[in-house]
């Protein structure tokens, strides 16, 4: 497994996959949106408002999915000190946070016309908000240290401890009574969403999942390239430029000092 987790192998494997995955993502989301907005029926109670679900449910799924991924990467980075696991966790956090925020916003937009309120402090909504704060806390924490390794350690610990919240989000609607409705898709006696509405939902969930992997690959590649540039700079590859830089600095310093000391 570790053999595949080398940065060079990651780049080699994802290079040919990326354009295909991006194409599939665009196709899935485009057809998904077409079905969601035009080619699916209205709900018997909600009317057209039901279409918010096609963004809300996939976004909620991605919020949890990304968090589980982030926590697993965090564990791998703590146990095996694997740099790629750490990069993946850091790259996942803002994506997951965005999906979680999207879920909360679309849920609020749905809640106003349906429930009669933008927000209530029930177990599902509150635990989802905590999920968003966990993402934001992770992002702040990993960037709070001068030494990136210490930031990763602290962040991974937070991600792992926060993973306790994931089953709470999922089962909050079963464990306590909430204003939020119980699970519609992943439940014991099969989905309670009409098959005609499952089509756009499935397309959007698949599309969002592929989108996550596209952005993840891009972000990891960006980080690997940045690290490579830093390593090259340190090894003296850009000596000529850095010489110039330091000369300029010296000149400036001299001028500055000359001014300061009359």
């Amino acid at each position: 497994m570790h053999r595949f987790a080398k940065p060079s192998v990651f780049l080699k494997f994802t290079d040919p996959v990326l354009p295909w995955l991006a194409g599939v993502t665009a196709l899935l989301i485009a057809t998904g949106l077409y079905f969601a907005l035009f080619a699916s029926p209205i709900d018997y109670q909600q009317g057209d408002t039901v279409r918010i679900m096609y963004i809300h449910v996939p976004a909620a799924w991605m919020g949890l999915f990304c968090y589980v991924g982030m926590a697993i990467c965090g564990a791998m980075s703590l146990i095996w000190k694997h740099p790629l696991a750490d990069i993946c966790a850091r790259a996942t956090a803002p994506i997951g946070a965005t999906f979680t925020a999207l879920c909360l916003i679309t849920g609020s937009l749905w809640g106003e016309p349906m429930w009669g309120t933008w927000w209530v402090w029930d177990a599902r909504l509150t635990s989802m908000l905590i999920l968003l704060f966990l993402y934001l806390g992770y992002i702040a924490l990993v960037n709070a240290f001068d030494d990136p390794e210490r930031g990763s350690k602290a962040g991974s610990a937070l991600a792992l401890i926060g993973a306790v919240n994931v089953p709470i989000v999922k089962f909050s609607v079963d464990w306590w009574n909430t204003l939020h409705q119980p699970a519609s898709i992943v439940r014991m006696d099969g989905p309670s969403v009409d098959p005609s509405m499952q089509v756009p939902l499935a397309l959007m969930i698949l599309g969002f999942t592929c989108y996550y992997f596209v952005v993840l690959i891009l972000r990891v590649r960006l980080e690997l390239n940045e690290r490579r540039i830093r390593a090259l700079q340190l090894s003296g590859m850009f000596d000529q430029r850095s010489d110039q830089d330091s000369n300029n600095e010296q000149n400036y310093d001299a001028g500055h000092n000359a001014e300061a000391k009359p």
Binding site: I42, Q45, I79, P182, A183
Partner: protein, 162 residues
């Protein structure tokens, strides 16, 4: 030798993480069970009846299905009265204000307010509770015709109870 020591360290870290996660999960479970009454969003009519008499100063939420045929506008022209039930117990509710669009007989609602001394719940806010069923109007019609509808409503009432 050094390799196996590194392996042992990795295993040790793995056990550590497992132990910490178990401890945190246990603590979270204990906390949430201890504060169950504050974590639940509303009480069912059965719980309200069990807890009564409830102090009129205590604010709480009650959730249940609106009993068919129970919704009435009182003589003052502003107060709406209805009965919520979980099919075991029922509590009458009175409310002055704007009802949400989804409010209708047979529909689940959550009302926030306080109990009056005569056992009526005085609501200051009424929210509609949507169930987990999504279907086009035609499917809803055919379900109503075929008699599956009662099954769904019974399930909704059950959810209000637990």
């Amino acid at each position: 030798m050094s390799l196996s020591r590194a392996k042992a360290r990795k295993r040790q870290r793995m056990y550590m993480i497992g132990a910490v996660l178990l401890a945190v999960a246990g603590a979270a479970a204990l906390l949430l069970t201890a504060f169950e009454d504050s974590v639940v969003f509303f009480f069912s009519p059965t719980e309200i009846v069990e807890k009564s008499p409830i102090d009129p100063d205590q604010r709480l939420r009650i959730g249940g299905l609106v009993v068919e045929g129970s919704v009435a506008k009182l003589a003052d022209g502003q107060t709406i009265a209805f009965v919520v039930t979980d099919m075991a117990e029922s509590v009458s509710v009175s409310f002055q204000g704007i009802l949400p669009d989804l409010f209708r007989e047979g529909q689940g609602i959550v009302a926030e307010g306080h109990m009056s001394n005569d056992g009526t719940f005085i609501a200051s806010e009424v929210l509609a509770k949507h169930d987990e069923n999504y279907m086009p109007p035609e499917v809803a019609e055919s379900l109503k015709k075929s008699g599956y509808w009662e099954e769904i409503e019974a399930k909704n009432a059950e959810q209000m109870r637990n």
